[in-house]
Each structure stands twice: as structure tokens, then as C-alpha cells.
Symmetry: C2
Subunit: 298 residues, 2 copies
């Protein structure tokens, strides 16, 4: 699905994909920042635990956000497409000031929510200004094009990733999670190489990308967000590669961003925490003739 | 050590780092190409199995190169610094037309060979035009700056990699091996970020980078060589990061190169197998405004 239209009198809400495995017992830094955006003590948080088949997932997040001081927390026990027609759930979503999708299996999430009032209401609420966060599977489903599965520990290769339609809160990015921990660069590169207009976000565990209404994302957490920009790709062997064949992808721009770094999705430009990167970006490339066999390391 | 000077009347020999785990029973594509460069049926191959503590390593490679039709094959049972003073070994190296360093532990290799006549002779023979190949540990030691250890499965992080002086056949690159298989992007990025003049080569298993006298490398094998160019790095948090802290590295250029791709180390430019990349490299970056929420994927 495409994102719902944003009306002129307000901004879209934050879109907050989290790489999974986030701290849920100590600082809860990421949940805290999400809650703050949702209104803090005034917040009305709705948790969607559908990706998970564990009974405990909804109650666990209810406890987390309650402990963090949310005004109100509900979780929606949606386990079938029929559940999505429950008018009470629709009402809860319509008054929510923050929506959180848990981890689990993104295909379970997309096959149960896809095309239902619940999915449409989430898109509309986000377009109306409320923040939507999702962790692991809940992060993957946020974009229009979703990584539904694929190979970890693989070089970029034909068939290394499978795509499916996601919830479509944004179509500017494609998201992968547990990124470094599960060695998923190969499948994210494969995904972005299908159509270089997509910016690939590889989000580590305990790390989140807070994507603002202005399309500027900020990194929060203990890991990194790896941004892959294939927009200037010089060459890709994807279109005629044999199944499983290693891909050649030339001309990728990669930014590895730790906490506080920001990335302007419109300009495709990364900035360090102090936002002074533009001071340095005019530096010329280091030339080998300055550093050849005769020269000492610069 | 720095590379030995190359005299004006001939070229340096090929430098051939291999990512380990290369096919040694079927096509033996990589060994075959190395042997060809060394003279084929006229070749006089000397194998240095020092990185390995297995008695069988030398004889195994003797069998491989003999089977492939090498004119002559010797392996040097060097297990101590004293062994490096054996004049017979020096003589064998001086007449060799190709030198091959096996896998094992690159610190064993550097601590035993470093500063000895054997290391100096290998540098001089390469400068005199003969090809030197090394796999796994034997690949790591080839460059002046060697990755001696570090974390696999890690995001770029302070302390994620340890460096040591290598054999110094080249100082243009820093080499990591078993690259995708052991999830070593993080430590290669950390290594290159120490001094962006280094070009990082992440070499997959069963894959080799044939670095020619003209500083153009060509990929041979079933995996990829990931070339990391930090030369235009806009920002690095390395210098003031706390131990284990995830690094921010903004403005990295990455080329993922499959078999037949070439990379010009002097120009820091990658080319596809058909060498026509320059036809495409003038393409502008995809702009988000062409692909925003209203537009269909381009």
C-alpha cells in the first residue's frame, strides 16, 4: 500500500523502525523517546502484538509503557483477519496518540493486517501526525516494499532476498533489522539493487531510526543504522545473474551511523551528531599518488 | 615493511590475496590462474606453509600445483625464525617463479618471517616481477598494514580490529578474508577508518583479487571482493569513541565486485566485467522527489 495522503494543516507522524533486541529492562531509551513523541503522561499507546504468537507479548509491552508513565496503554489481540473488523479495535486506534508493532514474523503481520481497516487506520493515523514504531518484524513491515525473508550470512546474490508488499507508511526506504547481528548486508544490498530509488536501512539490534515528518532520520540506540544508497549505482549484474550467483554492485554509497547521526532522506545526505559534516564533505578523495609505495601513510 | 623498490626495466609481479576456502579439488580456478602467471609448465613454485601448524599443509599444496602441471614445486618447512636463515630456502626463493603462502594464523606468519631474509627475498622477488599469492592468513599478511585479529559479527566499533605490520608487498590496501562468511565488514570498516588512505579489500572465500603491476585488480572466484574506499569519508567518530562503542563512518564508497570486475587502485574506480561502467557512471543520483509518496517506484 502507498502511504495515506498527509493533509496540509499538519505533518505526518514519526515513523520509527527498531532493529529488534532493544533494551526493555534498563534505560529503555528507545521506548522512552517514542513515548515522549506520543505525549508522555498524556499518551494513549496502542500495541499491536500480531507478529508474535506469544500470548505474553501484548502484556509485556503493556507493562513497559505503563512503567514508563504512559497515560493509557492498550494492546489489540489480533490473531486473524476477522479480528481486524472488530470495531472496538478501530476505535482504540482512532484515539491512539502512538502505535507500536511488536516483533515476530512480518509475513504473519502482513497476511493478517494487509488490506484491513486496521492497516488503513494505522496509515491514516500516522498521516494525521501520530508516531508509529515497530521492532524487528514490526520494523520491516513499515515500508511499502518489505523484506519478507532471505539469506543471512550471504554476499549479495540473485535470490538472496524475498520482497513483499508492506504496510506502506513510507516508500522512500526498505528496512532490514537485526542487521549486523545476523550479517544481513548482502540481502539488503540485493534488495536495494532491485530498484536503486530505494534507500536501504540496515538497523542493528537495540537501535532505532526516528524518521521525522521532514524525512530526516535520527539514530537512537547502542548500535548503528547502515544506510545504503544505490542511487548512483554504476553497474548491477542483478538482471541477468543466475540463481545464487554473487552479484556485482558498483558505486554504492554507504553511511554507518551511530547514535545522534542524522540522515536527510530527501537529499540522501548523512550528518554526524554535531551536524557539521557538511564542513568536511568538500574534502577531495585521498589519491593513491599521495600514498603510493614510496610515501608514508598520510 | 615497505615494498621493495621496483627497478625501471621491469614491472612488479602480481599480488594475489585469496579469501580462504578456495576450491582445491574441482576446477582449482584460482590456483590455475596463479600458476599460469608463474609460468605454467615452466613454473617453479615455492609454497610457504608457515602460517599453518599442520604437517600436511605443505605436501597438500605440493600435490595441487603438481597436479596442475607446475614444472617444479617445493615447500619450505619454516617453523622458526632460525629456519629463515637456512641458505637452501633462500636459494629456492631466489629461483622461484611463483610464491604461495598458505592459510593458518597471520601472526604466526608475521612473527616467524618478519624481518628475516625470507621476508626480504619474497618482497624482492615480487618487485622483480614474480607473482606472490596468499590465502586466508597468507592474504592478510601481504599488505604493509595487516589485520591481525578482531571481532567478526560486529558493527564498526572502537577496538573491533587489531592491526600489525604485515609483509608489505603493497601499502595501498588493507586485506580481510573469509569476508562475507565471517561477517567482517565491521572490522574492515574500522580498519580503514584509522587512516582513509587505505583501500579496504574484503575478500570472500573461494575468491581472489589479482592485483596487477598496473595497480588494477581483477576478481576471480565464486564470491565477491568488497572494496571499501574511505577516501571521501566525511566524518569518523573513531578518534574519540569509547572502547566497544559503535562508530559513525559517513561517506563511504563501497563496490561489491563479482568475478571479472576490475578495480583501479590508483583512480579508486571499479569497472564491471565488460569494462563499460564509465558509460553509466555519469548517471545522476536518483532523487527522492522522483520517488516520493505520490510516485510509483521508478
Amino acid at each position: 500500500m502507498c502511504p495515506a495522503p498527509v493533509s496540509h494543516d499538519h505533518d505526518r507522524g514519526f515513523i520509527i523502525p527498531i532493529g529488534g533486541g532493544e533494551d526493555r529492562v534498563k534505560e529503555m531509551h528507545i521506548h522512552r523517546k517514542f513515548l515522549e513523541l506520543a505525549g508522555g503522561s498524556e499518551a494513549d499507546i496502542v500495541v499491536i502484538p500480531t507478529a508474535s504468537q506469544l500470548e505474553s507479548t501484548g502484556p509485556d509491552y503493556h507493562e513497559i509503557f505503563t512503567e514508563l508513565g504512559a497515560g493509557k496503554v492498550e494492546f489489540l489481540p489480533i490473531n486473524s483477519r476477522e479480528d481486524c473488523n472488530n470495531p472496538a479495535f478501530g476505535e482504540l486506534l482512532k484515539r491512539a496518540t502512538g502505535i507500536f508493532m511488536t516483533g515476530g514474523n512480518q509475513l504473519r503481520l502482513s497476511t493478517i493486517l494487509g488490506g484491513t481497516d486496521v492497516a488503513q487506520t494505522i496509515r491514516r493515523r500516522n498521516a494525521a501526525g501520530i508516531p508509529v514504531a515497530g521492532t524487528s518484524a514490526g520494523a520491516s513491515i513499515m515500508s511499502e516494499h518489505m523484506i519478507s525473508g532471505g539469506d543471512s550470512n550471504s554476499a549479495p546474490a540473485e535470490g538472496a532476498v524475498s520482497l513483499a508488499p508492506g504496510m506502506g507508511l513510507t516508500n522512500a526506504v526498505i528496512i532490514d533489522q537485526h542487521f549486523t547481528q545476523r550479517n544481513r548486508l548482502g540481502r539488503l544490498l540485493t534488495a536495494t539493487s532491485h530498484n536503486p530509488f530505494l534507500i536501504g536501512l540496515g538497523i542493528d539490534e537495540d537501535t532505532a531510526a526516528f524518521i521525522g515528518p521532514d524525512n530526516i532520520l535520527e539514530v537512537v540506540g547502542s548500535g548503528t543504522v547502515t544506510v545504503v544508497d544505490a542511487g548512483k549505482l554504476c553497474y548491477s549484474s542483478l538482471w541477468d545473474a543466475g540463481e545464487g550467483e554473487a552479484l556485482s554492485l558498483l558505486g554504492l554509497k554507504v553511511d554507518v551511523m551511530g547514535e545522534g547521526c542524522t540522515y536527510d532522506l530527501s537529499a540522501r545526505q548523512a550528518y554526524p551528531p554535531d551536524n557539521q559534516a557538511n564542513r568536511f564533505c568538500s574534502l577531495p578523495a585521498v589519491k593513491l599518488d599521495e600514498t603510493d609505495d614510496k610515501a608514508a601513510p598520510g
